[in-house]
């Protein structure tokens, strides 16, 4: 096995059902 100079290792989970109604927050939603 190799020995690795790890900088960052991540499990990046997205819980879509907990998102607010709209992901993008551009001008259309800032009003």
């Amino acid at each position: 096995g190799a020995s690795l100079p790890v900088l960052v290792s991540a499990l990046y989970g997205r819980v879509f059902e907990k998102d607010p109604p709209r992901l993008g927050q551009g001008p259309g939603k800032l009003q």
């Binding site: 096995g1 190799a2 020995s3 690795l4 100079p5 790890v6 900088l7 960052v8 290792s9 991540a10 499990l11 990046y12 989970g13 997205r14 819980v15 879509f16 907990k18 998102d19 607010p20 709209r22 992901l23 993008g24 927050q25 551009g26 001008p27 259309g28 939603k29």
Partner: protein, 448 residues
Amino acid sequence: LDTFIAAVYEHAVILPNRTETPVSKEDALLLMNKNIDVLENAVQLAAKQGAHIIVTPEDGIYGWVFTRETIYPYLEDIPDPEVNWIPCRDPQRFGHTPVQERLSCLAKDNSIYIVANIGDKKPCNAHDPQCPADGHYQHNTNVVFDSEGKLVARYHKYNLFAPEIQFDFPKDSELVAFETPFGKFGLFTCFDIFSHDPAVVVVDDLGVDSVLYPAAWYNTLPLLSAVPFHSAWARAMRVNLLAANTHNTSMHMTGSGIYAPEAVRVFHYDMETESGQLLLAELRARPRLEPTFPASVDWSAYAQSVKLSSCEQSNFPGMIYFDKFTFTELKKDTGNYTVCQKDLCCHLTYRMSEKRMDEAYALGVFDGLHTVEGQYYLQICTLLKCQTTDLKTCGEPVGSAFTKFEEFSLSGTFGTSYVFPQMALSGSQLASERHYEVSRDGRLRSRS
């Protein structure tokens, strides 16, 4: 075709001068043609090397330095592909559309599919309650021309990035996919990759084999760098991802690649020069039919089965890109740690070659709503090097690491099946699949 040659071009976009008032259509076209001249060389080079399709970056033809008013001269009316149009053959059919005509001729003359990102404008009127005051919609738009120059796909970016004030949101999320002799393709743009609609839906519901992904992504260490993030997405969604990023080192914009579900085929990361870069790689047209197709993963299986480490440890808070993490330090050269936040517990076992006194590492966990440049709910487990040995710097950007990990295994009690596994090594290099794997019970672990 069982396989095809994919190409992506990382383009150092020639940006317009910042202006307060809109330039003339002629000046806008002049700037766009300068960029298309560069793209043309990449297209010809790719076609000579047998590429079937080439993806170019988001904002690759006019850049991103605009207000709503100053981008107007760069926009064209882009029709629905159902009109069955080859702009190279019939350039005046939808008004003055020189950019679409030139891209269509590029595709036709080089017999290659071209994916580009340009601006669409659509008139509207007072009958439409959402019609902007200036009487038209302006959309950030991906277009695809097939090898005969026909417009075969048009996608309006749904999840605009907050600074994209020059564009309007489309009314609804568009699911865009099209068939080719080398598999079914979906497409979306940059910030969309964080979303369920259309990014996950185009894979899970439309069953595409490959995704075309123009991006203008600036890297934000440690967790939001283009190459690790995009390759992790392709791995978790189990599709080919053809990611073409803009190149601009002053904005930390670099990181393109051609990613297969089971491995990175080729990637490019360059913070040293201002040059563009063409990448080519062979891909399986329908990866899910291949023996190498990765098995599905139950991301919480292992962590839910493991006995949480009971050893006394001092947790401490830290920030990663405005999110409040809970960390615990890796104090020795080998260990077994668990750290929890709300419903998520992250578990790490590891062995270092030696515990260096000049470097500090931490295990971090975040379970919450990210609310800065958009609002999306995250559950993250991460092993990372802190910027210095001061634990207050855990989560700050780091470029190099000398500590060697002989073994590690990272897992979490995730409440979602959408988990993207990242591994970045010293110098922002991507770890190779030879060195790590994702087990079916949800461990991101070194291959021993």
